[in-house]
């Protein structure tokens, strides 16, 4: 019990709380609302429209399009949030109340919990920038995100009407199918890095070059070049599975508007609907963060030292580590933002798959390719070491 009152323990609790609050309230939730905004602006750009450009800062007509072409519209997420909170929260009479209420939280919570194991920076003043450094980080992400299917299933079932039910059923089979493909796709990276701990995978990439950019540590090598082949295959299958896992177009069958009205959230309104929305985008951010950690070197930028002012270009080590710690965090979220842009770009470019095509792609292609890729990686590793 002494440990519970020691300063070490208080320090651990304090820093963990600070990191959690920073990550969720200062980074991810604003990122979610601005991803929604980016989605609308980018889609407008792609379709040659204007998009939301009126609600600027200050939140009035003064911030309209005449004031500034760029700042106009940046207030839109705040206006959206207020709208979601103030709309009537209507619960239809035919729903199963308890499950109807619990479903939105169940789709939001797992997405946030997965963020706990993401190493979003090196160190700040010696404190590692990961909330929970566990040795099975990758598996933890897969496990918790597999729980998020309950939110969608329960929403579909408790709504007690046709379209949500069909959406829920579709989502269940889709998520179960693509979980396998996603898990197997990531195995080559785990084989190469020799660890399932996310901070250690990033550490490996700092010393041996990023998975997707193997020469980023400044060294060439035949083994690395050979391993690039399975890594690229793994990256492609993993990203495709991630699209399906987060229910994004071209795989957004659970909520396809043309057939199912709005899928599992047809009966939801106001903040409950917004929670599904937030959950989907948080899952997207968590998924992008996982891709960044596994393939794109995490918080590392070639030549930039870490938070203890070590590594990188020697002359930069004279600058205090705190600054590099902040640069690392910024680099991580810049990479995540770039991936989110790809998510949006794909959504407004590709048409939706048909349901049987989706299942066929998952079980007959992604699954098999990922499985063969594991043997390929293991073979190359066995030959080059």
């Amino acid at each position: 019990m002494d440990y519970l009152y020691s300063t070490d323990f208080l320090f651990l609790v304090g820093t963990s709380l600070a990191k959690t609050i920073f990550l969720i309230f200062l980074v991810v939730l604003p990122m979610v609302s601005y991803t929604v905004y980016a989605e609308r602006r980018v889609s407008a750009l792609i379709q040659d429209r204007v998009g939301p450009n009126r609600t600027g800062f200050p939140l009035s007509l003064i911030g309209g399009k005449d004031w500034s072409p760029f700042l106009g519209g940046l207030g839109q997420p705040i206006a959206d949030a207020v709208k979601f909170l103030l709309k009537e929260d209507f619960v239809p009479a035919h729903v199963n109340k308890f499950y109807f209420w619990i479903a939105p939280t169940l789709s939001m919570m797992p997405a946030i919990v997965t963020l706990a194991v993401i190493p979003f920076g090196s160190t700040i003043l010696g404190v590692p920038m990961v909330v929970a450094n566990i040795n099975v980080g990758v598996l933890f992400m897969f496990a918790i995100s597999s729980v998020s299917v309950y939110g969608i299933v329960l929403a579909g079932w408790s709504s007690n009407s046709k379209y949500p039910f069909l959406g829920g059923i579709r989502s269940t089979s889709q998520m179960i199918s693509y979980e396998l493909g996603m898990g197997l796709s990531a195995v080559p990276v785990l084989l190469i890095a020799g660890s399932t701990s996310l901070p250690q995978i990033v550490e490996y990439q700092i010393h041996n070059g990023w998975m997707m950019l193997p020469y980023s540590n400044g060294h060439l090598g035949w083994g690395k070049t050979l391993l690039w082949i399975p890594i690229i295959i793994s990256f492609v299958t993993f990203t495709i599975s991630m699209f399906a896992e987060t229910n994004r177009l071209p795989f957004d069958l659970p909520e396809s508007e043309t057939e199912l009205v709005a899928g599992y959230h047809t009966e939801y309104s106001s903040m409950k609907f917004a929670l599904f929305f937030l959950g989907e985008y948080t899952a997207m951010i968590a998924g992008s963060a996982l891709i960044v950690v596994l393939y794109l070197g995490g918080y590392h930028v070639p030549g930039i030292p870490n938070g203890d002012a070590q590594g990188g270009i020697p002359i930069l080590r004279h600058v205090p580590g705190l600054i590099w710690g902040i640069v690392n965090i910024t680099a991580f979220f810049a990479k995540v933002a770039a991936l989110l842009f790809v998510f949006i770009w794909v959504r407004w470019t590709l048409p939706r798959f048909r349901y049987d095509q989706l299942m066929k792609l998952g079980w007959l292609y992604i699954f098999e390719i990922a499985l063969v890729n594991i043997f390929l990686t293991a073979g190359i590793l066995a030959c080059t070491h």
Partner: protein, 170 residues
């Protein structure tokens, strides 16, 4: 793990385990089983067995129970919720459970090895055990043959399932 957390999660596991049996609604039962599994996973974390805990969530809560729930929802078991609780069955089940606990208690009381604490598994100062590596090396070195046999068994089961479901299609 702090004893408070142990009792909390143990209570969670047991209470929701009881709720699985006590609930009349099959969907509610299935969900209670999920919570019970999560409590069990938390107990594994308390033993520093992160790998087992995560696999528990991934396989049971994330895959098996989703399929259970899927089937229950498709079957739409309305009759089950209206059925009256069967008192003799409750009493009988309770007695069997009590007898089992009593047996377990008596056996463990007389078994000397059960009174000794488990050997600690810390690899070195301040470093947690790499349990993924431990599980992997143990499976592939000490228990290699049983592991392979289980692999073949699972393959047979998979092929059996495919054959059975294909036959029903015709």
């Amino acid at each position: 793990m702090s004893p408070i957390l142990f009792y909390l999660f143990a209570a969670l596991t047991v209470c929701f385990g009881i709720a699985v049996v006590a609930n009349r609604n099959p969907v509610a039962s299935a969900l209670c089983l999920v919570v019970s599994f999560l409590g069990l996973a938390a107990l594994f974390v308390g033993l520093d067995a992160y790998f087992i805990a995560v696999i528990q969530v991934l396989v049971y809560a994330g895959a098996v129970m989703v399929l259970f729930l899927f089937i229950i929802m498709l079957l739409d078991l309305k009759a089950e919720t209206r059925r009256k609780p069967n008192l003799p069955a409750y009493v009988g089940g309770g007695l069997v459970a009590l007898a089992f606990i009593a047996q377990l208690w008596l056996v463990l009381e007389r078994y000397s090895a059960a009174h000794q604490p488990f050997p600690t598994m810390w690899a070195s100062e301040g470093k947690s055990i790499d349990d993924v590596t431990n599980v992997g090396t143990t499976l592939f070195s000490v228990h290699n043959l049983p592991f392979q046999v289980i692999g073949v068994l699972i393959l047979v089961a998979t092929i059996g399932v495919v054959v059975l479901s294909k036959r029903e299609l015709k």
